[in-house]
Subunit: 169 residues, 2 copies
């Protein structure tokens, strides 16, 4: 199930690049530079757009690496353009694609910690459900909210991505 949840996270993360395409199209139609969005904030004491995208990527990355005990690629967090953010999203999606369901054997009870927790730890199960998922969706939805607030024409369909719905029988 962790694997299924991670693949869902991967799909959602990939939607950010769909949104960034919509941003670029919108910016062209309105003759503004899409990179002005990088510093946008919903509140002056929230992370700016660029950081929201970086953290969304990292939350998905750590959801995978920390509960499986695998190495995570490090990123310099030095993106300065929408194109560089697109590449960051793509790199993270590519990393998530290296995971298989069997990597999550034992994940539920693995001890997970982060550099900021000074030795405190969570089980892999609690980390995934209480920390990784809510944090991922927090930053993911904030990226979307910043685009909506700026007038970019994205909707629920762009948010959800492809959904597995079957025709009536």
């Amino acid at each position: 199930m962790y694997f299924d949840l991670l693949m869902q996270m991967k799909k959602q993360l990939g939607q950010i690049n769909v949104w960034l395409d919509e941003l670029t199209t919108y910016a062209t139609s309105r003759s503004f530079d899409p990179n002005v969005l990088l510093t946008a904030r919903l509140s002056p004491d929230q992370f700016a757009f660029v950081r929201q995208v970086q953290v969304t990527c990292d939350m998905a990355k750590y959801a995978a690496s920390r509960v499986t005990g695998k190495e995570a690629p490090s990123h310099a967090d030095d993106e300065k353009t929408i194109d560089e953010l697109r590449a960051r999203v793509t790199a993270t999606v590519t990393y998530l694609e290296t995971f298989k369901a069997e990597d999550f054997a034992g994940a539920a009870t693995r001890k997970v910690t982060t550099p900021r927790w000074e030795g405190e730890w969570m089980t892999g199960h609690d980390f995934f459900l209480e920390h990784a998922q809510p944090n991922f969706f927090f930053h993911f939805t904030t990226v979307y909210a910043l685009l909506r607030h700026a007038g970019v024409p994205v909707g629920k369909r762009h948010f959800l991505g492809k959904v597995t719905r079957h025709k009536p029988e």
Copy 2:
């Protein structure tokens, strides 16, 4: 696992009432009526605050009822004050508390549909992961974003709620 995910959703949903308390305190300190938030929007073509809270409640409710095949209580969506929204959140949390892990036996393969899908359907598994969870977090985070945008002093701690972290051994 669906049950664990639902209980996590229940915990998150309950945090909205913590945020509404912060809103009320903030509004008092700044001498404004907290109910003015009800019509706030991040974008003119997004749902207003009141509707974002209602839909967050419904997404959690339907995550529970539709994948288990149980009846869901209906709500009139007529909340007109922050206090009424608080009661709506509490009613939904109380409904979610009636569920047990065994209610989710067979949930993965259950056929799930909604009145708007004209007979189309999803498996319970896909509905939970691809539809219910992302939609829940979408509206939940939008509620939070509207409060942050309005200056209400809530932070990540208020967003996540209580997290199960253990002391170093």
